[in-house]
C-alpha cells in the first residue's frame, strides 16, 4: 500500500519534469528555456527528498543540497548571460 503511494508521488514529479522539458524544448525564446531549467532543478530536489524518505538513507539529501547549489549558480550565470554582461559585473 505504502509502495503504491510512493509510486504515485513519483509519478506526479515525473509529470512535472515532463512539463518542464516540454517548455525547454518548445520555449520560443532563450529566457523561457532558462526559466524552465531553473524550475526543473528545484523539482529534482523534491525527488531526492522523497527518495530519502522512502529508503531512510540521508545521503540522498546531500545530493539534493548539491543539486540546489549548482542549479542556483547555473541560473545566475544564464541570467547574467541573457543580460549581456560578464560574470564579474
Amino acid at each position: 500500500m505504502t509502495e503504491m503511494w510512493y509510486n504515485a508521488a513519483f509519478a506526479v514529479l515525473v509529470l512535472c519534469c515532463a512539463m518542464c522539458l516540454y517548455r525547454i524544448g518548445r520555449g520560443p525564446s532563450a529566457p523561457d528555456r532558462a526559466v524552465a531549467i531553473d524550475i526543473l532543478g528545484i523539482v529534482v530536489v523534491c525527488f531526492t527528498g522523497l527518495l530519502a524518505l522512502k529508503t531512510g538513507k540521508d545521503y540522498y539529501l546531500n545530493v539534493g543540497i548539491a543539486w540546489a547549489i549548482l542549479s542556483f549558480i547555473g541560473s545566475i550565470a544564464l541570467a547574467k548571460h541573457l543580460e549581456g554582461k560578464g560574470f564579474d559585473e
Partner: protein, 118 residues
C-alpha cells in the same frame, strides 16, 4: 498524529508543484510563467521537505537536519534566481504579452517611454 501532518504537507507540496508546472505550460509569456512557476514550485518544495522531515520522525536525525537545511537553502536561492532571470529576460528584449497593461520596469529604466509606445 505526526504521520497525518506529514502526509498532508507532502500532498500539499506535490499539488503546489504540479500546479506550478501547469502554469509553466499554460501562461502566455516569460514573466507570467516565471512568477507562477517560481512561487508555486518554491512553496511546494518547501512543504514537501517539511513533510519529509516530519515523516522521517525521531530515529532519523540526519534526514531531518538535511531536509530543513535544503529547505532553507531553496527558500533563499530560488527568489534570487527568479529575480535575476526576470531582469535578464527584460534586458534581452523579450516582449510582454500583448494584453499586458503596464511595464513599470521599462518606465523606470527609460523615463518617458510608456508601454503603449514601446
Amino acid at each position: 498524529m505526526s504521520e497525518i501532518v506529514g502526509t498532508v504537507l507532502l500532498v500539499a507540496g506535490l499539488v503546489f508543484n504540479f500546479l506550478g508546472c501547469v502554469g509553466l505550460i499554460r501562461l502566455p509569456d516569460v514573466y507570467n510563467r516565471l512568477q507562477a512557476a517560481t512561487k508555486c514550485v518554491t512553496l511546494g518544495t518547501c512543504l514537501l521537505l517539511i513533510g519529509v522531515a516530519v515523516l522521517a520522525g525521531g530515529g532519523a536525525a540526519p534526514v531531518i537536519v538535511k531536509a530543513l537545511l535544503c529547505m532553507v537553502f531553496i527558500l533563499i536561492t530560488s527568489p534570487t534566481a527568479a529575480h535575476a532571470l526576470a531582469r535578464g529576460a527584460h534586458a534581452s528584449g523579450v516582449k510582454l504579452w500583448e494584453q499586458s497593461v503596464a511595464d513599470k520596469y521599462l518606465e523606470d529604466r527609460e523615463p518617458g517611454v510608456t508601454n503603449e509606445e514601446a
